[in-house]
Symmetry: C2
Subunit: 218 residues, 2 copies
């Protein structure tokens, strides 16, 4: 499959030219972000909670405490929405009305599957750890059996998915191009600063390179 089939629920209706259903582009957005916002419903009320995640093939892994309201809902097959948003720039137009944001976002709908197989669970935890902090699964102490048991992992198949992308300069009304107003794009990205070592770090451990954690959203 190279493209996701839009459904009534994932078809981008507002500004349809921004809709993207290409699998490679969807995967690239999911791989560049590292925080998703998970939506679930309890007693008719929607909740939106930020959390880490990782893509593996055509699914997303999420994890958390078995006591969490969100993980409980997900483990029981409640309908979910997982949204990942990358903000690439502020779009400054000559008119206030045409101000916008350059962004790439993915919306995935569906029901999660509780991951119970211990091997798949470890694989998923490794992917989530390395997606947040590249290379750490190979450096840190791996989870004990007790730690794995006290973590809930769920998988959401990327089935009903769409992306929405805005790029490029502001689009002003033709007559506004004559206005003496600055217009253009202010690029934005997430910057990683110098890693601050823990106060109890053992002596002799080499510093960690901040560039490992920099994703410039470009």
């Amino acid at each position: 499959m190279d493209t996701y089939t839009p459904t009534e629920r994932t078809q981008v209706k507002r500004l349809p030219k921004r809709g993207v259903y290409d699998q490679a582009q969807v995967h690239a957005i999911l791989d560049e972000g590292f925080i998703c916002h998970v939506g679930f419903v309890a007693d008719g009320q929607p909740y939106v909670i930020p959390t880490g995640y990782a893509r593996s093939g055509d699914q997303i892994y999420l994890h958390g405490s078995p006591a969490s309201r969100m993980l409980r809902a997900m483990g029981q097959g409640a309908p979910l929405c997982v949204t990942v948003t990358l903000v690439d720039g502020l779009v400054l137009a000559r008119s206030a009305f045409h101000h916008s944001i350059n962004y790439r976002s993915v919306v995935a709908l569906g029901q999660a599957r509780l991951v119970t197989d211990p091997e798949e669970k470890m694989t998923a935890l490794g992917r989530i750890t390395n997606h947040l902090a590249p290379g750490r699964w190979e450096e840190a102490r791996l989870p004990s059996e007790k730690e794995v048991k006290s973590t809930t992992v769920v998988a959401l198949a990327l089935d009903e998915v769409s992306a929405k992308v805005r790029t490029g300069p502001p689009i002003d009304d033709e007559e506004d191009y004559a206005l003496p107003v600055w217009a253009g794009v202010v690029p934005l990205w997430i910057e990683a600063g110098e890693p601050a070592p823990d106060a109890r770090l053992l002596e002799g451990i080499p510093a960690i390179d901040r560039r490992r954690f920099t994703s410039r959203h470009t």
Copy 2:
């Protein structure tokens, strides 16, 4: 009021020590972010959509197209969740299990009110514009009557609200402090790059200072 009263729905149950109900802290998080994730329900399915916003006193303004599914739901009083998340750092522990994220997030629940008064609508649009791109409401062409009419604005009262905050170093299991693994925090923030002028920018318009748009999340 100095603090929000936690309800059954907003009380932070997982890691309750991270729960914050202080109004000043909630406002500060909302003022530092500029993208929120709005959750709403349609036919039992939750949707999570990123969008701009602005705080005004003890309410949040949102705007969009009258044709948008989200704005229609909000204008009709559907239950909403508005979440704002600031990511401050990657927390690298000696164990994979204790890896975490330093963050500040706000979750606001409620039903929006459709803003119909033209004066309040203009005020709200000004706040949303200047929250995204400080100072632009004073520089750009203001919305025409037609543009205002073709924008839906809603307000969500900050009533049922909580924040969740993690700061500080990793917390490892006592025996893991002896491990020769780098541990500490990698600070993250949103960086604004050099503004890229539009190809059709008139000559003689002074460049815009990128520092106007930098929010370091510190």
